[in-house]
Amino acid sequence: MLLAGGQGSRLNSLTHNIAKPAVPFGGKYRIIDFPLSNCTNSGIYTVGVLTQYQPLILNTYIGIGSAWDLDRKDGGVTVLPPYTASSEVKWYTGTASAIFQNLNYLHQYDPEYVLILSGDHIYKMNYEWMLNYHAEKGADVSISVIEVPWEEASRFGIMNTDADMNVVEFDEKPENPKSNLASMGIYIFKWKVLEEYLLKDEANPTSSHDFGKDIIPRMLEEGKKLVAYPYKGYWKDVGTVHSLWEANMDLLDEQCELNLFDQSWRIYSVNPNQPPQYISPEAQLSESLINEGCTIEGDVNRTVVFQGATISKGAVVSESVIMPDAIIGKDCLIDKVIVAPGTIVPDGSVLKSSGDILLVSDDTLAELLAH
């Protein structure tokens, strides 16, 4: 069950018209490609995608799931939007309420285990390994955790565990963290236990219907077996303009743990089917990722360029992210900037970040250029 209803309001104009999981990433992907590809690569072929905020582009993008090989006769991908019940419209008020309202979907398959994912993170993970771990430990719920730097631990939901990785305490954004194992928002439940707790939670009028805030603490309280699954590897929440920029820059690092070129764990996406990129005689390229359909005539350094984008003659672009179909005019100077899809930056523009990473879109362009 992939939670993809998030608004991602800290991504500002990037999420005005699209849900956060549909935000472009890494030159050709959208964020949701990572969990969906992880599902396919892990042998999970029945995936419910829960959408709510601005679902049009996300729904169109997912389609029947063929890009991730999830167009299946049995199972496959199913988009699960909120719906009108006989008495009222039931919006997804929290992560747990979203799953609760789709119990019928889960009943249809009556699985042994349910994997809960979020559509907000960039990472590669074999969920099958986590499932094996979960089954071996005989856990009611396993929560995937990652070691974060101690100084950042107070930004996360922290799991305090015993020597056998049993979760003994859960601290949501603790001031004085006792551990640096942060929850990645990835859970595997025994289906019967999940169902029981979702029903209990729904009946509780004071609950905020959230896995981290309500379901997990209650299970701990009632002595269920909660186990932390230690994950090692690249994992990044791309919830802010800065972290989205940073994650794109990470891809340019040759030592980056997130290897897009690994054929054994491909990240699938809807391919735009555009011609190869054209690099003109005067172009200069270094340390960059460039997708098909681009025209590069300028100087591009440490930059991620998405499909159909144009970098015109004399433009100098560095440490930036140029999203699909954006056009950087002649002789522009672009430094540490994210240019939103389809933005046309006029000739001679100078856009440089000082401190915070600039996000340039049609809405903000005029104002930014005035400065």
Partner: protein, 342 residues
């Protein structure tokens, strides 16, 4: 009136001039432009012109062609009704002499009888062009033609338009008429049919020799040419591969080239076409080359004026060059080591 068209791709011709690239594949399946196969042009033209039923008549070595086309999904031809059809010749081993494409069509006469489209467009699979076929159909009808041949600068492009009923007559009477192919029917001065020639003035080249293959590939580096071939509203569709974007390292220097996804470029590349998944090592120099899928150029290599077929490996420090007048083909899967002679 049903003005719909049936698309026939005639891939039965064998081109001796392309032998080096067709040892393991038909001309239709020759890789082109970094990510395409030659057949993608005609197939996309048909689909973009509203044709929903396309039949391919291949001959010899069609494994790679079938692998490329699959169910036709990438061209939106995986349909319940109509869609993509594949008709290899049932008499593959029968005759030594080429029986001609009309014979091949006649072997699958049921398909033509069953199709509901009123017109048939028949085209070869090795022409590079982006052409809207609807104006051709309109012109054919307005001019009251029976058989229309598309020409460019007076030479045939191997594209024909006829009514389906006319095609059935041609197939039925092929023994009396002696016609082997549509070309014969369209150029018989004593024909009982009204023969017409439609002049196409967009970019179009039929690739029937290595020289032409090389020249047309290099033409892609001229923006005025690729802008005529790759149009947003009429895209050339191909089999998609989930390759990541091309990656350029600090040491890369790329000028006047086309680069497809999945490439990892660390060396110098000039005036070249680099296909999907190609690796070019540090210090390597690639000039005036066409490098096909998954080939690898090691560190400090020098390669010039080559057509490198798929999965070729040039080991570090090796120099392989040909003269610009006679670009050389390096066969699929070749490994050039330091001690090996060329």
């Amino acid at each position: 009136m049903n003005k719909s068209m049936l698309g026939i791709i005639d891939s039965t011709m064998v081109h001796a001039g392309l032998e080096e690239l067709t040892l393991h594949r038909s001309a239709a399946a020759i890789p082109f432009g970094g990510r395409y196969r030659l057949i993608d042009f005609v197939l996309s033209n048909m689909v973009n012109s509203g044709i929903q039923s396309v039949a391919i008549f291949p001959k010899l070595q069609y494994r790679s062609l079938m692998d490329h086309l699959g169910s036709g999904r990438n061209w939106d031809l995986n349909r319940k009704r109509d869609g993509l059809f594949f008709f290899p010749s049932p008499s593959l081993n029968k005759s030594v002499t080429d029986p001609g494409s009309l014979e091949h069509f006649a072997e699958h006469i049921d398909f033509f009888n069953r199709s509901t489209q009123e017109y048939v467009v028949i085209a070869n699979a090795n022409t590079v062009y982006n052409m809207d076929l609807v104006p051709l159909l309109d012109w054919h009808i307005e001019s009251g033609c029976d058989i229309t041949e598309v020409r460019k600068d007076g030479a045939s492009l191997g594209i024909y338009l006829v009514k389906k009923t006319t095609l059935l007559e041609l197939l039925d009477s092929r023994e009396e008429s002696g016609y082997l192919s549509m070309r014969d029917a369209a150029n018989d001065l004593r024909s009982q049919y009204k023969l017409c020639y439609y002049n196409y003035d967009g970019y179009a080249v039929t690739i029937d020799s290595i020289d032409k293959y090389y020249a047309v590939s290099m033409n892609l580096l001229r923006p005025e040419i690729w802008k005529q071939l790759f149009l947003k509203e009429r895209p050339i569709l191909t089999k998609v591969k989930d390759e990541p974007p091309a990656r350029y390292s600090k040491t890369a220097a790329v000028h006047n080239s086309m680069v497809a996804n999945g490439g990892e470029i660390e060396g110098t590349v000039e005036n070249s076409i680099i296909s999907r998944g190609v690796k070019i090592g540090k210090g390597a120099v690639v000039k005036n080359c066409i490098i096909m899928q998954k080939s690898q150029i090691g560190e400090n290599c020098v390669v010039e004026n080559l057509i490198m077929d798929k999965e070729v490996k040039i080991e570090a420090g090796v120099k392989v060059t040909a003269s610009p007048e006679a670009p050389e083909v390096i066969r699929k899967g070749t490994i050039k080591g330091a001690r090996a002679t060329t």
